[in-house]
């Protein structure tokens, strides 16, 4: 893996503030975009700027073909069938689509239980809070081990015949622990529950195969895997999606419409009401090509090396506390930390001001989890394929210096 060559594909890495380049360590929030993806997205506007599945003209046909190809690419990327891949606005909307659809079919009752973990992102917590609130169902939480991995014994103790759904993050966006989703899906199915996996933090970094995992639904964001913003992906098992109601209604998702009733389109279009994000879908195809060309196993190995290096450097800094499993096999490339002397926001601002180092601070859209560790929030540095050891050196040096200055 030639990092220098990879970095040349990301023009934004050349952007300077006050004469200094930015060190981008906020990849868990959104990844940077390579020029291949930017060009692919532009190509829609330059070459086939037409609506899909509507016109009979050549431009519309080309746009439709490319949009459908994006579904096929995404399906192949996660080992699914094309009709099992629904494009949404983002990962949050993917999860909401499942929630609203299940809700509309009366899937939950007051006796039902929904099982989520303590480390969920708001996207995989708030929708289920709402589902529980609206139906009287009970929302239960799987506890964590002291090393922030999922307590599987607690999971097995809590799942029962009333559990209708297990919604779990594949990799946490805060403590970064990787959950054994294959095992979780198996146990959920044995209890008769559905299993939804939030894979926003795993799909960009590791090979994800929906068949291997066996989950009923899997959601992820495109902008976290080098793609454009405004596009999310929902995988759903074909037999389930066929039975489920759409949650958005309008054009594109219908087969026929009369004044009093409508028939739904075939999968996956049944779940894609209105004009979809066509340009972004072309960008997704390019992002998948880019990731495949480098190889996800290579990327994962690079992430691991960076993470281990970051841990090594940060362990040497006094007054820093890290909230991760601290084992690169058990977690994604994220370091969640706090300092004794500076608040998370102060530290993030100081890192940015001192050396243009972009890290995230606060609750990280996982307030219950983060506030249980520090009510004022935490700092997070997250790495990806274009980050280097030199950047981590600068990050660690700056961090160490700032903590000495503001002691």
């Amino acid at each position: 893996m030639n990092i220098e060559r990879i970095r040349q594909d990301f023009p934004i890495l050349e952007k300077r503030f006050g004469g200094k380049k930015t060190v981008y360590l906020d990849n868990a929030a959104t990844s940077l975009t390579p020029k291949q993806v930017i060009e692919a997205e532009n190509s829609y506007y330059l070459e086939c700027n037409a609506n899909i599945h509507r016109g009979l003209h050549k431009m519309s046909e080309e746009a439709s073909r490319k949009y459908e190809q994006a579904h096929a690419d995404a399906a192949k990327f996660v080992g699914a069938k094309m009709e099992e891949i629904v494009f949404t606005k983002n990962c949050t909307e993917s999860i909401n689509a499942v929630m609203y659809s299940l809700l509309s079919q009366g899937f939950f009752s007051p006796e039902s239980e929904i099982l989520v973990s303590r480390l969920e992102h708001h996207a995989n917590l708030v929708p289920w809070q709402q589902a529980a609130k609206r139906t009287g169902a009970k929302l239960r939480f799987i506890e964590l081990n002291p090393d922030y991995t999922l307590d599987m014994q607690d999971f097995e103790a809590k799942i029962n015949k009333n559990t209708k759904l297990v919604a779990i993050a594949h990799a946490s966006n805060t403590v970064a622990s990787i959950q054994p989703v294959q095992e979780i899906a198996k146990i959920a199915h044995e209890s008769g529950a559905l299993c939804l996996v939030d894979a926003a933090q795993s799909v960009p970094h590791t090979e994800v195969n929906v068949k291997k995992i066996g989950a009923d639904f899997l959601a992820f964001s495109v902008h976290k895997m080098l793609g454009p913003t405004g596009l999310g992906v929902l995988f759903g098992k074909k037999e389930l999606l066929e039975k489920m109601n759409p949650f958005l209604f309008g054009g594109e998702m219908i087969h026929s419409v009369s004044y009093n009733s409508s028939e739904w389109n075939t999968l996956p279009w049944k779940f894609e009401a209105g004009t979809p994000p066509i340009a972004q879908a072309l960008g997704l195809s390019a992002a998948i090509d880019y990731l495949k060309k480098i190889g996800l196993s290579e990327i994962q190995e690079h992430d691991r090396k960076l993470l281990e290096y970051a841990f090594e450097k940060m362990r040497a800094i006094p007054d820093i506390k890290i909230f991760n499993p601290m084992d690169s096999k058990k977690q994604g490339p994220i370091v969640l930390f706090e300092s004794k002397h500076l608040s998370a926001h102060d530290l993030a601002l100081a890192l940015d001001e001192a050396s243009n180092i972009a890290v995230r601070s606060g609750m990280h859209c996982a307030e219950p989890m983060v506030s249980s560790l520090n009510p004022k929030g935490l700092c997070r540095a997250s790495f990806y394929l274009y980050n280097t050891k030199e950047e981590i050196d600068l990050f660690a040096e700056t961090l160490s210096r700032l903590l000495k200055v503001f002691k």
């Binding site: 926001h345 601002l349 100081a350 001001e353 700032l402 200055v405 503001f406 002691k407």
Partner: protein, 152 residues
Amino acid sequence: MVFCFVALGIFAVAGIFSARYRQFAKEAFSCAFRRITLRKCTTDFDNKMKMKISTSIAKKSPKAGNFIYKNFTLLSWILVIITLASLVYGVYGLYNFLAFGNCNGPNSDGTCIYSEIVTPECDCGAVGCNEEQYYGTCDYNCECVKERCRQA
């Protein structure tokens, strides 16, 4: 924190010349407005400025950076008090200028900033000076001297 009140004045002026400072001015205004209306500032503006200023200074002098970081609230209050005192003094001077023709009060011929702003580049001399000339621009028939015309 009260830094937004000081920052509003500084960035409002700096914002005339730079879009970057215009954004800071907007944030400072929003923050100051919320404070005046007894609400919590939602932009975290004061803290943002505290870190920007103290980190920038710490690059050159870590001790000074640390001092500003630790005493930012106190320093902000000092700046607010100085700003308010200047404002009161300025308004008092303006009143004197309008009432007596000099911002230092009656019977004073000390330097007055308003005279420099309001007075034309050259003024008519005492000889032949009348009320019209006093309020008007310099008459080309008058001989211009630095001394300002005075009402009898």
